[in-house]
């Protein structure tokens, strides 16, 4: 049984929280109305609505943009997988200490320095237009493939650094424990260091994944008909900017599940390793 004192306190707390909710609702309503009225009464609003939020054009351009987005998604999945594997390899190379690996280690360092500093758009032009211009046999001339190669080259450098930071954040005592059990350097890396490092950098990796989702749209500069390019074609046809807004919203929608996934992942790790 709760005491009279406690019941009175709870009742007070409840009334306070009801009051807070009411205040929040009221202030939000006032704010929304004020913003809405200001925008609607602004002299340029009809023109803005006409060229940015035209429902009819949005609806008409949607199928083409969705088709383009499907291409972005495929590029995203393939590039994402390649980047993860290659970045892990580059990061591991950079942490090797044996003198045999010196050339590979140096190469990995040069690669990361170069491709992390190079603007992605320059890389896209060089790979997308420059490589086919060499007319070498075996070089693909599909803009989607070439764009993907440029994305993989740039993002592998970033993601490798994320992995390396994770690897270096694992306390040396973990390595000592693994080595003392008789595990070799490679087994220690694969079974003890990397699993912990990957878990630790998961939020940073997902952040880079969202960035990659957006940058997949850059393959449009090579002429690949993705969501951005499709929107551009629709825009050119209608002289209206709504298709860009549609494509932009679709990219935003794409990023939301990744963010939720990151949250869920964080909670899962917490559940398993925290608390009693």
């Amino acid at each position: 049984m709760t005491s009279e004192l406690q019941r009175e306190r709870l009742a007070y707390k409840r009334s306070r929280s009801r009051r807070s909710t009411l205040v929040a609702l009221l202030s939000t309503a006032v704010f929304a109305v004020a913003v809405g009225v200001t925008i609607a009464r602004a002299p340029g609003w009809p023109r803005v609505r006409q060229s940015f939020f035209n429902v009819e054009i949005a609806w008409r351009s949607l199928p083409a943009i969705l088709e383009g987005l499907w291409l972005n998604l495929r590029v995203l999945v393939v590039c994402g997988a390649l980047i993860l594997v290659l970045a892990l390899g580059v990061a591991t190379l950079r942490t090797l200490r044996s003198p045999v690996w010196f050339p590979l280690r140096a190469l990995a360092t040069v690669y990361v320095d170069l491709f992390r500093g190079l603007p992605l758009i320059i890389l896209l032009y060089l790979v997308g237009f420059g490589l086919p211009a060499l007319r070498l046999t075996g070089v693909p001339n599909d803009f989607v493939v070439l764009g993907g190669v440029a994305l993989v080259l740039a993002y592998t450098a970033y993601v490798a650094e994320v992995f390396r930071a994770g690897i270096e954040s694992i306390h040396p005592s973990q390595v000592a424990a693994a080595r003392s059990l008789g595990l070799g350097p490679r087994q220690t890396m694969r079974l003890v260091v990397l699993p912990q490092a990957v878990r630790r950098v998961m939020p940073a990796l997902l952040n880079d994944f969202v960035a990659l989702q957006k940058d997949c749209g850059l393959i449009s500069v090579l002429g690949a008909v993705d969501a951005v390019r499709a929107a551009q074609i629709e825009q050119a046809r209608s002289f209206n900017f709504t298709p860009y807004v549609v494509a932009g919203l679709l990219f935003v929608l794409l990023a939301v599940p990744t963010a939720r996934f990151a949250d869920a992942l964080g909670r899962r790790v917490e559940r398993r390793q925290g608390g009693r």
Binding site: Q174, R179, L181, G182, Q187, R272, Q273
Partner: protein, 249 residues
């Protein structure tokens, strides 16, 4: 007399200009429990890490069953298979369950099939009183439980020599007893143990021999009653007086 399991000969270890071990020699025979005592910074942990080849020696030798494992031409990974070490800070693998922590070395290093490794691990966990926590993760356990898992992990591949590096120093006082009881059991079962400790009372009861390390030198060695009861060297007396004053003996 038979070859000692461990023979440390004139081991020197320096960090920069700081000499941590200054020519330490020490033998541990089969079924013997040798306890290393000494103040913080006297080189106890460094000695154990050198024996386990986690540190490179600056001079001297570490012989395991007569084989010089400190020779750079010897594969240190192979040599370590004969030893198990338990650390002050447990150093369990946080991303693995208790069972996986214990079975890792047998499975990966000794190629024991998973089923067999897990049966052995469960037996060991039973012995350290934690069979019901096999599926837990280290962070879900108390310090004392984690340290018992670490001991089980070090025993899982039946090493010739067990190294215990101040394994109760990071524990709350009420958890020290459960870990020491386990070490006592291992000693009585005839394990060969080299341990660094601050628990003088425990050293006196369990050790066959106590060695006192001071400033990287081994200044006194003998049966526990002699070294802890009637120390000869003034440094040992001084150290023990401080311990007694602190109420630890």
């Amino acid at each position: 007399m038979t070859e000692p399991v461990l023979s440390v000969r004139g081991v020197v270890k320096r960090y920069g200009g700081n000499t941590v071990l200054d020519g330490v020699s020490l033998d541990v025979r089969e079924h013997e429990v040798v306890t290393v005592i000494g103040s913080s910074g006297s080189g106890k942990s460094t000695l154990l890490r050198c024996v386990n080849l986690l540190e490179e020696l600056d001079d001297g030798q570490v012989l395991l069953d007569g084989v010089d494992v400190s020779d750079p031409r010897v594969n240190a990974d192979l040599a370590r298979r004969g030893m198990g070490i338990v650390f002050q800070a447990f150093n369990l693998f946080p991303h693995m369950s208790v069972l996986d922590n214990v079975t890792l070395a047998p499975r990966v290093v000794h190629a024991v099939p998973r089923g067999e490794a897990e049966r052995n691990a469960l037996d060991l966990l039973e012995r350290v009183g934690l069979a019901d926590r096999a599926g837990s993760y280290p962070e879900q356990l108390s310090g004392g439980q984690q340290q018992r898992v670490a001991i089980a992990r070090a025993l899982a591949y039946s090493p010739r020599l067990l190294l215990l590096d101040e394994i109760t120093s990071a524990l709350d006082p009420e958890l020290v007893g459960e870990v020491l009881a386990l070490v006592r059991e291992l000693a009585e079962a005839g394990r060969t143990i080299l341990m660094a400790t601050h628990e003088m009372g425990f050293a006196r009861q369990v050790a066959d021999r106590v060695v006192f390390l001071d400033g990287g030198r081994l200044v006194e060695s003998g049966p526990p009653d002699q070294v802890l009861g009637e120390p000869v060297h003034p440094r040992t007396r001084q150290f023990l007086r401080r311990i007694i004053d602190a109420g630890r003996l």
